[in-house]
């Protein structure tokens, strides 16, 4: 099969990628680039563990072809912390006890990040609606919602 030469910006860094046209962004991230913070599960966009940000919008990397990301910018969980400091969402998830097994958490945090960027003062119902595409089997979502709301409040207060 002939390969495509793609240029993607991943976590702020330019990557030249040579890959078959049928391969997904998830597969390229995990297998070619070793970025396993983006998780793999249902592979049909039902569970949300593979959520990444594509030009700032939350997408399921499992059903997105790498070729669709040509020239675009991808943020994975590995790119969220800056200068060795946890991102406020990452900090809040730890502080609120929102992490158990943790497998859904990278996708959950990125969905929350995309949502908060657009909606600075959400209610708990808003947050729950925004995260409805990310399944978590450990937490019952309560502490996840609390963590996201706490970050929203801090942002609103300019902290």
């Amino acid at each position: 099969m002939s390969k495509l030469a793609l240029t993607l910006t991943i976590n702020g860094e330019r990557h030249e990628i040579l890959t078959e046209p049928h391969r997904t962004l998830l597969d390229v991230l995990r297998t070619d680039l070793g970025l396993t913070g983006t998780k793999e599960n249902c592979l049909e966009a039902e569970c949300g563990v593979c959520t990444v940000l594509l030009d700032g919008a939350a997408v399921n990397a499992c059903i997105l072809l790498a070729a669709q990301c040509q020239g675009r910018s991808v943020l994975t969980i590995e790119g969220l912390a800056r200068d060795g400091e946890l991102h406020p969402l990452q900090r809040a998830f730890i502080d609120h006890g929102a992490v158990q097994c943790g497998y859904c958490i990278p996708g959950m945090i990125l969905s929350a990040q995309a949502y908060l960027d657009e909606h600075p003062s959400p209610t708990e119902d808003d947050v729950r609606a925004a995260l409805a595409g990310n399944l978590c089997r450990c937490t019952g979502y309560q502490k996840i919602a609390e963590a996201v709301l706490a970050v929203a409040r801090d942002r609103a207060a300019g902290r």
Binding site: Q90, C136, T139, G140, K143
Partner: protein, 758 residues
């Protein structure tokens, strides 16, 4: 135990592995990779029951990128399993469920492996399939295993044809008990098959070295059990098999037994390359270890004033084509059928029954939700019939301090009445039907803290940090954070000073595994024992340095203190490295056996609940009479946890357990039709999302257990038990309709309302 106010235990400290999990750097088994690794895939049966007439892998072997194709002909002819050894690696001549492994392939890419699966040729001659419990138990039913009597099993089991165990509890004289009753109630309940729903699929990577040793990186909850099972399957010494658990994305009992590790090991040996096998959602929902569907029949006798005089109950588990956890689960179920009630006459039986379905296993509180759904639904039915408040009927019959459990164990630290009263108060039980189509429900129960042994090594490093080396895996509950809190408390150090190494069968001490709500309990106690051992070494060393008696020494603030003098643990560790190989200790723990009356049980592999926990759930919900849709306004859990080691993560266990329980109550079922799963994907297998989950109010009740560290009891499984019963009781309260089958979907409610003409 520390005499002063606790510094570390009982505190809501952040989990130790949080940073790796939120940054994506934590490596799970599904993430694990080695250079040159191949992709392994499993070829599975498409027939519920059939003879394999022809199996041809030649075309698959010839495809580009394919490195191995294996069938039953390529592996030892071994039957393995837990209490009953009936399972084979691949089907041999006959398939017994849709999804049963028939062959496996290894190839250079996922695409090549999938092409190989498509190129395997198989011809089946269908056999009569046994598709449900009634068919399996019917006189003259086809045997799923004609050779069942020849299988190896623990001698306790009572087996007969399609019944792979019958467990029984008999207390008093149940017929006389029914004669003493004023009313007798008989009901039948049904529950569906449900999946654990962990977000990380089962995954394993296997690699062999030149000495003939294999290492398997797996997300199993039980690395030592998997090591031993692999030894049976591979016909090798366990000492040549290393199982390492990198990280687990949820288990809930679904990752106890060998799942894909054996395929990875065989394929890696055949190809001389590392092989990774990871399951798809379809494989998970057709060929994993889900919770058994059940049928329950209960006959309960009560006096007019609501005293239970006798209970006869039977529960049948549809355990699938192989026994899996069935024989044990059928045993545990009888203790749940008794309920947390004082009943003088009992005749309770649990049956594990073969059918042509996937092999069922263990799911968080195995048997708990199914049996409790029946018991607690019936309590409400009885209360309604007698004109009693369901809370009052429960309070009239529940066990209290010093009472006997069903098999004669003496119960202590019984916080049940407190749980019931607090849950009822929190849900405003005095107003049970606040509006039309709105109602409240209550359910209570008891559960075990599974025993088994745990060992730890503890090392004090020359910088004063402490290494905790345990064979238990961290499956997400933060149980190892809890155990480390015990260690930090007892050693006089901070939680941040402790580093955990875990779950490697070659380098960590034995542990019975992350199952049965036992990890923080048992590893925590092993840590206490290790500190006792360490104290002897540390105090001897310190006494010599400080010129004091060892008896005068104590640990505090990362130092040994004695007679106004002090020396740091770091200094002592450095000193010990120069003089005696460093400060290392071991600690072991095994839960003491719980005494019970062996004359009351038969065919029973789990005759008593160790350090039992008690709990009550309450729910307030509304029904949409048009659609049957359920809206939960409030959910309350009051759970006797003995001692809350880390309240935040205990709340997390309760909130998550309720979520899984509500899934089983309202939306989840693996639906079979003619032996095939109709919904083998996450679109149609409906687990609760953020929008389905109510807020859960947690009330921690603390009646300290005699055995657990600081009085802790097992916490993880119980919150999964009561939600179906609590919901069913609330739905009955809201609609005056009693639904006796799980899940109680909106569709079922709407149809029941229509049938009732309301």
């Amino acid at each position: 135990m520390a005499t002063s106010e606790p510094r570390v235990v009982g505190k809501s400290l952040p989990r130790m592995d949080g940073a790796g999990k939120v940054t994506g750097t934590a490596v799970y088994a599904a993430d694990f990779a080695l250079p040159g690794m191949l992709v392994g895939k499993v070829f599975r049966s498409t027939e519920p029951h059939a003879r394999i007439v022809r199996l041809d892998t030649a075309r698959a072997r010839a495809l580009p990128g394919v490195r191995a194709v294996m069938t039953a002909a390529d592996v030892p002819d071994v039957r393995y399993g837990g209490a009953l050894k009936d399972e084979t690696v691949f089907a041999r001549g006959r398939v017994r469920y849709v999804g049963q492994p028939v062959a496996a392939v290894a190839a250079t890419t996922r695409e090549a492996a999938e092409a190989a699966l498509a190129a395997i040729e198989v011809v089946y001659a269908p056999l009569p399939a046994v598709l449900d419990l009634d068919a399996a138990l019917a006189p003259g039913a086809p045997l799923i295993h004609e050779e069942w009597a020849s299988y190896t099993a623990i001698p306790i089991l009572h087996r007969d044809g399609n019944v792979c165990n019958r467990a029984r509890i008999v207390v008093g004289d149940v017929e006389r008990g029914f004669e003493e009753a004023d009313r007798i109630f008989e009901h039948r309940f049904r529950t569906g098959m449900v999946h654990q729903g962990y977000t990380e699929p089962r995954a394993a990577v296997a690699a062999w070295d030149s000495s003939g040793q294999v290492t398997v990186w797996s997300n199993t909850q039980l690395p030592f059990e998997v090591q031993n099972t692999l030894a049976e399957i591979l016909q090798m010494a366990p000492s040549k098999i290393r199982v390492v658990v990198p990280g687990i994305g949820g288990g809930f009992g679904g990752k106890l037994r060998v799942g894909v590790e054996h395929f990875a090991a065989f394929l890696a040996r055949a190809t001389g390359r590392p092989v990774k096998v990871i399951t798809t959602s379809e494989e998970e929902l057709t060929a994993a270890y889900p919770r058994q569907g059940t049928v329950v029949e209960l006959k309960t006798g009560v006096t007019k004033d609501g005293r239970i005089t006798a209970k006869a109950g039977r529960i049948w588990f549809d355990t699938g084509a192989f026994a899996g956890s069935g024989p044990g689960v059928a045993s545990v179920a009888t203790l749940v059928l008794a309920g947390p009630y004082k009943i003088p006459n009992l005749h309770l039986e649990g049956f594990a029954v073969y059918t042509n379905k996937t092999n069922c296993g263990s799911f968080r509180a195995p048997s708990g939700p199914q049996a409790n759904f029946a018991v607690e639904s019936q309590i409400d039915i009885i209360a309604d019939a007698l004109g009693l408040d369901p809370l009052e009927l429960r309070l009239k019959n529940i066990v209290r301090e010093g009472d006997e459990g069903p098999t004669g164990q003496v119960l202590n630290a019984v916080g049940l009445e407190e749980c019931l009263r607090k849950a009822a108060a929190a849900i405003a039980w005095n107003d049970r039907r606040p509006a039309r189509w709105r109602g409240k429900g209550l359910a209570c129960g008891w559960w075990t803290t599974t025993g088994g042994s745990s060992g730890v090594y503890v090392k004090i490093n020359p910088d004063g940090t402490v290494a905790l080396n345990t064979g238990a895996a961290e499956i997400g509950t933060a149980a190892l954070t809890g155990a480390a809190q015990v260690l930090a408390e007892e050693l006089g150090v901070d939680l941040a000073d402790i580093n955990v190494v875990s779950a490697d069968t070659f380098s960590t001490p034995f542990d019975f595994g992350a199952q049965g709500s036992r990890t923080a309990f048992a590893v925590g106690n092993a840590c206490r024992a290790a500190v006792d051992d360490l104290k002897r070494r540390v105090f001897a060393l310190a006494a010599a340095q400080l010129g004091v008696e060892p008896e005068a020494c104590r640990l505090a603030d990362k130092h040994v203190l004695a007679d106004g003098k002090r020396i740091s643990l770091a200094d002592l560790a450095r000193l010990s490295q120069q003089t005696g190989g460093g400060l290392i200790a071991q600690g072991t723990f095994i839960a003491p056996p719980t005494a019970y009356d062996s004359k009351r049980v038969d065919g029973h592999v789990y005759p008593a609940f160790h350090s039992p926990s008690f709990h009550a759930h309450a729910v307030d919900l509304s029904i949409d009479p048009e659609t049957g849709d359920v809206t939960i306004h409030k959910y309350v859990v009051a759970q006797d946890v003995g001692f809350a080691m880390n309240p935040t993560y205990i709340e997390g266990q309760i909130e998550g357990g309720v979520a899984q329980g509500l899934g089983q109550a309202l939306s989840e079922e693996i639906v079979y039709e003619n032996g095939r799963v109709l919904n083998p994907n996450l679109t149609d297998y409906k687990m609760p999302t953020t929008l389905d989950m109510p807020r859960v109010e947690t009330i921690l009740v603390q009646h300290p257990s005699l055995v657990g560290p600081y009085g802790a009891k097992g916490v993880g499984e119980p919150p999964n038990i009561e939600p179906p019963a609590a919901v069913a009781n609330a739905v009955a309260s809201a609609t005056a309709l009693r639904l006796t089958s799980l899940p109680i979907t909106a569709e079922h409610i709407a149809l029941a309302l229509r049938d009732a003409g309301t």
